[in-house]
Amino acid sequence: MAEWTECMNFGISVAKQASQVVLDAFKKDKEVMLKSSPADLVTETDQRVEKILISAIKEKYPTHKFIGEESVAAGDRVELTKAPTWIIDPIDGTVNFVHRFPFVAISIAFAVNQQTEFGIVYSLVEDKMYCAQKGKGAFLNGVPLLTSGQEDVNQCLVVTEIGAERDDLALYTMTSNIMRLLKLPVHGVRAVGTAAVDMCLIATGGADVYYHIGMHCWDIAASAIIVQEAGGVVIDTDGSEFDMMSRKVIAASSLPVAKRIAEVVQAFPCRRDDVDPSMCICGASSC
């Protein structure tokens, strides 16, 4: 729809503007706070950038809704309704940002009737603007993107992350997933430190499959549509249809590769993003 193109272009311009705040802070020392684990970091810049993005978008589109990482951390509920909704990660790769490891992205997705209409991932240190609108292809700095099309898992380069959890079950699950994949074998396993940029590398064809467990909807909503519009597929790690609230994803060059990865990868239990955070992971109101 033409009106969503205008929204996307506006999203791109606010991402570019907000990136200046991140770039200014990038070279400096940061005060770091912990969220759910000693590897789950947040800074004042994350919070500031999200405020800038939301207030700019709200001013232009006052009826639109928001799901933002830092707003949720501050107590907002995650609820994807039929209303036009912006799903925002102000800094994907906060650990990288803190360390000046140059892969840091602003991620903005937009959904209407619970369907993603467009996605923007701005890898700002590299100045790489990835975007895709439903039915209109995916682009990197204006150049069309195409996944590798690889259908043979033994010829695949895999990208993933260990994640921020440091409990035994999560770490064992994540590392043993990698070991099983290496033994298939695959060509190799890589990690850049941001889900959004990892998935965009699948869209470029530079790698063939990304999978992760434990990330959030704001980490992957934008890059999922970028992969799909570049000709790739996105599914759940259990092989079922992609569900951005499930905290699990496989993004791949082809369906055969995605399904093969789903056979190998195991998940550890994660509370869905759209579930009341006071509920237990298992679904009970208390354990």
Binding site: V95, H99, R166, I178, M179, H187, R190, A191, G205, D208
Partner: protein, 280 residues
């Protein structure tokens, strides 16, 4: 006092840039893949073409110098470091990345005299980042001085490593047990670019605190070792002794304290040394 090896280093930078352009162009085109060692240890025509370009050019300008090149060794040349001025070359570090178009691929040229590393050049050609280090004169990336991170706390660190190209189950068990121990320190995270040289340049640049790996070859880390050292970092063996270029193992870190902490977690093993044939 004039630097006796400045000329050689300038030549190395120019060659790395020329070779890197070749590699970058090849990423757009069909690449022939031949298998080497295992189905996950790849080599292409470009690896061989680039190494030939570098060696021929250097041999013409410096006819008495010696060479250790990855593809020459694969073709049967000895891997021996003598006192002679020696160029230690990895034409394409990150060949798997190169084959896939994954953007971390480096041309690596190290230079040693009397078995001491004098300079190193690592050209991350898809990113267009020229990393250099000259003993006693600092390390640079695209002309900007490099400085390692000042982090002293391992729990505030990022660590880089790789899973390697061997699928031997015993080796894989050690790789993964080490990884789990490092993660549980805990560290902020683990990164893997798929190129030993580029991982080490990230240490030199201050964006990761440490890199460790066993199974690499001398040509993978000779150049980047100088760059790390000149950026203020430290190098050691995975068991804590001095770095040994032929040992197939290295720890590169921003400081002694971080390096030693990583060494404590490593389940060490010893692959066949690069100079093993010479010792027979």
């Amino acid at each position: 006092m004039e630097d006796p090896w400045q000329d050689a280093m300038d030549h190395a930078v120019a060659l790395a840039r020329k070779a890197g352009t070749l590699v970058r162009d090849a990423v757009q085109n069909d690449m022939k893949v031949m298998l080497k060692s295992t189905s996950v240890d790849l080599v292409t025509q470009t690896d061989q073409k680039v190494e030939k370009l570098i060696i021929e050019s250097v041999a013409k300008k410096f006819p008495t110098h010696c060479f250790i090149g990855e593809e020459s060794v694969a073709a049967g040349e000895a891997c021996v470091l003598t006192d002679s001025p020696t160029w230690i070359i990895d034409p394409v570090d990150g060949t798997t990345n190169f084959v896939h178009g994954y953007p971390f691929v480096a041309v690596c040229i190290g230079f040693a005299v009397n078995k001491q590393l004098e300079f190193g050049v690592v050209y991350s050609c898809i990113e267009d980042k020229m990393y250099t280090g000259r003993k006693g004169k600092g390390a640079f990336c695209n002309g900007e001085a490099l400085q390692v991170s000042d982090q002293r706390d391992i729990t505030q660190s990022i660590v880089a490593s790789e899973f390697g190209s061997t699928r031997d189950p015993e080796v894989m068990d050690k790789v993964f047990s080490t990884m789990r121990k490092v993660l549980c320190l805990p560290v902020h995270g683990l990164r893997g670019a798929g190129s030993a040289a580029i991982n080490m340049c990230h240490v030199a640049a201050g964006s990761v605190e440490a890199y460790y790996e066993t199974g690499i070859h001398c040509w993978d880390f000779a150049a980047s070792a100088v760059i790390v050292s000149e950026a203020g970092g430290v190098l050691m063996d995975v068991e804590g002794g001095p770095m040994d270029l032929m040992s197939r193992r290295v720890v590169a870190a921003n400081c002694q304290v971080i390096a030693e902490r990583i060494v404590k977690e490593i389940d060490a093993f010893q692959p066949t040394r690069d100079d093993a044939a010479a010792q027979d």
